[in-house]
Amino acid sequence: MGNREIKIALTGNPNVGKTTLFNALTGSRQHVGNWPGVTVEKKSGRVSYKGYDIEVIDLPGTYSLTAYSIDEIVARDFIIEEKPDIVIQVVDASNLERNLYLTTQLMELGSQLLIVLNMCDIAEDRGDRLYLDKMEELLATPVIKTVATQKKGICDLLDKVIEQKELEQHHGHEIGYGSEIEEKILEIEKVLSEDEGRDRRYPLRWLSIRLLEGDSNVRAKVAKSPVYENVMAIIESIDQEEYEAEIADKRYLAINTILPQMCTRANETLTKSDMVDRVLTNKYLGIPIFLALMWGAFELTFAFATPFMDMIDIAMSWISEQVSSSLRPDWLASLVGDGIIGGVGAVLVFVPNIFILFFLLSLLEGSGYLARAAFIMDKLMYKIGMHGKSFIPMLMGFGCNVPAIMAARSIEDEKDRLITILVVPFVSCGARLPIYILFAGTFFGRQAGTVIFAMYILGILIAILSAKLLRETVIKGKPAPFIMELPPYRVPTLSTSLIHMWDNGFMYIKKAGTIILVGVVIIWALASFPWGVEYGSEDSYVGILGHAVEPLLEPLGFDWKISVALIFGLVAKEIVVASLGVLYGAGDKSEALSERLMADPGITTLSSLSLMAFSLLYMPCVATVGVIRKETGSWKWTIFAVIYGIAVAWTMAFIIFQGGSLLGY
């Protein structure tokens, strides 16, 4: 019995069905994590087949293996450093030319390659003819046909994986770049080989080509080498931009030379996807359809989520009551009941929302419409210093900021992504609505609807202005170029969307279990101590804290009670209303609370407006802070986001209250 472990890596262009194949291979035996040090998602899974234990690692989908994005660096470093037994490239059979560009680069990495021709059905239905034998011969690589959406060809693929593993022989096929470039490659190889202490996992030819192409990541890798100066001398002697163009030319040339022997393409006719695009990205219809779809997605989110949210709410209050009445001593009952269950419950209420948002996002992505949304909105977004891809995350923010910030992962450029993450919290999420409803309803009567709408608009304006401001100051520069494939429209696979929903929704729940819990316990302790005070009362630490920050918030029209409610609101916005209920002794009844707020001379129409604006703009909730930390990977930016939000909120509320007072309101 030999080694029965096989490690395979899945690679390929985006939109070729790689994730679907990964799901088909591994089923539910998946693990989602992060690549060390970066925020790129790492998915791995296992499959047992014919006595082999096969580990499958899903590498990020990339068009190339340059250092253009973190995804590309992650993928190539894994292949070189971890040396998987077999690297499987998933290829879209209906778009061979561009897909094979990645193949030419994979070959240079010196790994055992296996090509999976996916979506053969689409290509063949169209009338393309694919010659597998010829392809295997010309690429010197085994080729397997699959239709991952129907789980066709999975066993063939696994058989081939085992066969290749047992062969242990290395196929190799490399592209020639013409005598001038080849000479330079040899020169650099020679210089590099003089360094005895070099990392031998990296093929010399690959390093040399990358250096000629001006790859900054590879340059950094050899920077410590004693021969670095000599290498750079060669690099500086060439016209790098010309070499860059020439090398890409040669790769495509090589593909074009062999392509006609591997497949014949049907005459180009208008595909179904092209026809769909004629409508969906139409000059006149494109935007109305886009708005209608987005509106529909929101209706759907709330329509589906509301019954579940109500159920969670009821269940949580029931559990809280049970705990309060049965747990002894009282402080423990309060910690568990008021603190943990109350706080975590407030956050868990949003789980249905989040699941549905992720599900819809995945459907949009799988159908190919997500790319069109970026395509349609890019011009507008560009004007405010953002990328077209930032639009969908911002839109999701209206549902919940947490999945919105997670959705910003699809933005490749670090700066574009960071700006999106920093401005999403200003988008008014569902949790802020109860605050508007309470105060607008109490103080604005018939104008309540207009005031609530104005809050949403204010959030959008602040987000836009913040994006512009950040572009002028801390995150200088223009949005990254828009270079994006508009993939063919496809029917999204349900299982892929469900898995996506579960993975991301579960990540949220895990967050709810950690960072939110910590926040909740801190707030509970502040509300319950010193020993013996009434929960959240004036004498508790949170009351004292409320009094302490009162001078800071007084210019905004807030007294200590409002200050306390806002401190509670740091955990989650829906706690603001609940804690006001406690502070005003109104319990859960919103009518009673409304009356008591009206009766309180400390709160005026103007200060209620100021309060709504403040609630909209200051730190949304601990979950958002947690996810900002996770997605930026930086405490610095997380703290910046929190302080910036509070500063903006304070300024806006100040303008409203003081301005309004001056005008005589």
């Binding site: 190339s64 778009n95 030319e97 935007i287 170029p481 270079i483």
Partner: protein, 80 residues
């Protein structure tokens, strides 16, 4: 031959085809464009503009690639 160099990709009208002659885009976008198949000699067709006029939807190497006019202005073509 001179006037051939003068035409840039952004001047293409929907439905028109051209051949790429030179990519003058600088920086990381240059690499990315090459990777996506925007190399000299490649045939390219403008399919349509986005509803707001920019970016553009091009067909190249059998798929749809979208770029902004800003980059298209730095890509030289000759019409076929």
């Amino acid at each position: 031959m001179q006037d051939i160099q003068e035409i840039t990709l952004d001047t293409l009208k929907p439905g028109e085809k051209a051949e790429i002659t030179k990519v003058r885009v600088k920086g990381s976008a240059r690499r990315k464009l090459f990777d996506m198949g925007m190399v000299a000699g490649a045939e390219i067709e403008l399919v349509r503009n986005a509803p707001l006029g920019d970016p553009m939807d091009y067909r190249i190497k059998g798929y749809h690639l979208s770029i902004r006019k800003e980059e298209a202005r730095q890509i030289f073509i000759h019409k076929v």
